[in-house]
């Protein structure tokens, strides 16, 4: 029994649904090996440092793992939601939520906008380096005064002169931006029109543009290896070609990405949840108290059986919904259900599992302690549970 070990002998892995094709099973095997050899042995040090080495992105890029959302012409493989779900689930099994966050914000939550609404010129300029891991992306929407209510954001972008060719000047600030400290390309939401959702646009802003500064590298409860920034934009000048998607079409572009993002958070919930159960099964089957193992206490068996069943259900819905999304069917209800409930199930799981680790689970350095901290944000980021439940309620 070693609560500090990351790969116990007993495993809790659910078989793939029959519709997961062979190439995605092979993708899973490769990501799994990558996690075991390139992430798990080093990520503890990244948590300490609060930074993930750029080399990790390059290695992922070399294996083609950063381009699944991008077209082949730009160095990607254009794979769809099911592939991203497999990728996100396996990364999540690393037990390092911060690493999963840094990678998937780049692949599935920021650069994905560029592929979805970018012009061929914008794609050609950025995507090859994004797929190679040379350029790391961030999505900068949230502000200190506008989180759940995206339409309330106040960072402003104005044209510096008449005509479509004029530069844009961006002023304002952003809060809680993943990859905002060490990333290279910010996709920034800013107000270009009137109040509300219809006045927002997206901009491609290299982080080294004069006027962009990191106000602080934020200290967090979890996701310690992932950098999170407060950013200032002071008279930031970008060319007309930095406008991503149409003018005042930013909210629409962000919304288009929601379903995929919510699905990804479901995949993290399934992956982290199953891994937490795996670690805990290993622990309780060996830890003894009152003359038998903790696993032999019926209360333990029932609790873990219930949690395992709940994770299995989240996972089943995530896979089924990914298939539907790839098939072009509307899944806004399903993805809102997944985002509202997946992280809540995960919360139960990680805290239930920490409880079964006893005092050991409260100690820094045990994966379950870190997982309990890392899981917490999934109930807030990308749409808090309550906001998601409103989205569900609107549709039932």
């Amino acid at each position: 029994m070693n609560a500090f070990a990351q790969t116990p002998e007993t495993g809790f892995r659910l078989p793939d649904p029959d519709f997961v094709p062979e190439e995605l099973q092979m993708l899973r095997a490769q990501v799994r090996r990558f996690v075991e050899t390139e992430i798990q042995p080093h990520a503890e040090a990244w948590e300490e440092a609060g930074e993930i080495p750029r080399d990790l992105f390059r290695k992922l890029g070399a294996l083609g793992l950063l381009g699944m959302q991008h077209a082949e012409d730009y160095g990607g493989t254009q794979m769809g939601a099911l592939a991203s779900v497999v990728f996100g689930e396996e990364l999540s099994r690393s037990t390092f939520g911060g690493v999963t966050a840094a990678i998937t914000v780049h692949t599935d939550m920021s650069a994905s906008h560029l592929s979805r609404v970018g012009t061929p010129e914008q794609k050609a300029e950025w995507l090859p380096r994004i797929c190679a891991g040379e350029v790391v992306c961030a999505i900068a929407v949230t502000e200190a005064g506008a989180g759940s209510d995206v339409a309330g954001l106040r960072t402003k972008a104005r044209r510096d002169g008449p005509g479509e060719d004029a530069d844009w000047i961006i002023d304002g600030s952003k809060m809680f931006i993943t990859n905002g400290v060490y990333g290279d390309l910010l996709i920034v939401g800013a107000r270009t029109g009137g109040e509300g959702a219809r006045g927002l646009s997206l901009f491609l802003v290299p982080r080294d543009t004069p006027g962009v500064s990191v106000a602080q590298k934020l200290k967090k409860h979890g996701w310690l290896s992932s950098d999170t920034a407060e950013l200032y934009f002071d008279n930031v000048r970008v060319p007309a070609s930095a406008l991503l998607g149409g003018e005042n079409r930013g909210f629409y572009a962000i919304m288009q990405g929601f379903e995929h993002e919510r699905l990804m958070i479901g995949a993290f919930s399934a992956g982290e949840g199953a891994k937490a159960i795996e670690l805990t099964l290993d622990y309780v089957r060996q830890r003894r108290a009152f003359g038998k193992t903790i696993w032999d206490q019926q209360a333990t068996r029932q609790r873990l059986a219930m949690l395992a069943s709940q994770v299995a259900m989240v996972r089943a819905m995530v896979y089924q919904t990914a298939l539907a999304l790839d098939g072009g069917r509307p899944v806004s209800l399903e993805t809102a259900m997944i985002k509202s409930t997946g992280p809540e199930v995960l919360h139960e799981v990680v805290h239930g599992c920490l409880q079964l680790h006893g005092g050991t689970g409260y100690m820094r350095g045990t994966p379950i302690e870190r997982m309990a901290r890392d899981a917490r944000i999934l109930r807030i980021g990308g749409g808090a549970t309550e906001v998601m439940l409103e989205e569900v309620a609107k549709r039932i």
Partner: protein, 253 residues
């Protein structure tokens, strides 16, 4: 030169093997299966020979259940050129014994005429360490087992092997059989674009009957048991106590 690499689908090295309730073998139902790690090393070595210009084509062969196709696709995604699947069993629990495998491989080799065969030194399921040797005998070819380094010089393969007390270097005239040891190389990842390309590489499906080889087992498995659980150790306070225990309790001094 054409290089042929036989690959076996085995229980994944990460999985804790469990014995079937009736003791007839290891339970493989719903268990993760992967390419035998030594075979992965053999595939990697063949790809490196190709990259160095010492080989032109890599053919991978797997013998077993239909699902061994996945194992072949992995080899194709790593960089092999084409694959041959020989279906010889329906049940994942049916093990094809080394002699039958060697006979089938001989039949494939007679057709394919490779200049070199690189196999894993053994499969991690039964640890027989026999197929390569049997195949060399059936073909009348030279063999170099447990290779830690391979160099091709004209029609000779120079093979370094780890033996008790040091390294031994052999020269074998090709065609020859080489079996791969753990330290020969570290297999590469299959990149996602290569995984996608592997779908389009040729994979021939055959059956054992196509080659007229009888795969019926010649060995009988009497029993399969789990290794005995390790007993907890004891901590000693001093060297004196250790020596006393070794003398009086363990009786080894």
């Amino acid at each position: 030169m054409k290089v042929l690499v036989p690959v076996k689908r085995v229980i994944d090295y990460n999985v804790k093997a469990r014995v079937k309730a009736d003791g007839s073998g290891v339970d493989l139902a719903n268990v993760k299966m992967s390419m035998n790690p030594f075979d992965e090393i053999a595939v990697e070595e063949a790809i490196r020979l190709k990259e160095k210009g010492a080989a032109e084509e890599i053919v991978v062969v797997s013998i077993g259940v239909k699902q061994a196709q996945e194992t072949l696709r992995t080899a194709l995604a790593m960089g092999a050129d084409r694959a041959i699947l020989i279906e010889a069993a329906d049940d994942v629990h049916t093990d094809i014994e080394p002699l039958a495998v060697a006979k089938l491989l001989k039949a494939v080799i007679d057709e394919e005429q490779p200049g070199l065969v690189i196999a894993g030194k053994q499969a991690i399921d039964n640890d027989m360490n026999a197929t390569g040797q049997m195949l060399a005998a059936l073909l009348g070819w030279g063999q170099a087992t447990n290779a830690a380094e391979i160099e091709i010089e004209g029609d000779v393969a120079k093979v370094t092997r780890e033996i008790d007390g040091g390294m031994q270097t052999l020269k074998v005239k090709m065609p020859a059989i080489i079996t791969a040891d753990l330290r020969l190389n570290e297999p590469r990842y299959a990149s996602l674009p290569n995984i996608m390309k592997a779908k389009k590489k040729p994979l021939d499906a055959k059956t054992a009957a196509d080659y007229g080889v009888d795969v019926a087992p010649r060995l009988t498995i009497v029993a399969t048991t789990e290794p005995p659980a390790r007993k907890a150790g004891v901590k000693v306070e001093s060297v004196d106590e250790l020596i006393s225990k070794l003398k009086n309790e363990a009786g080894v001094l």
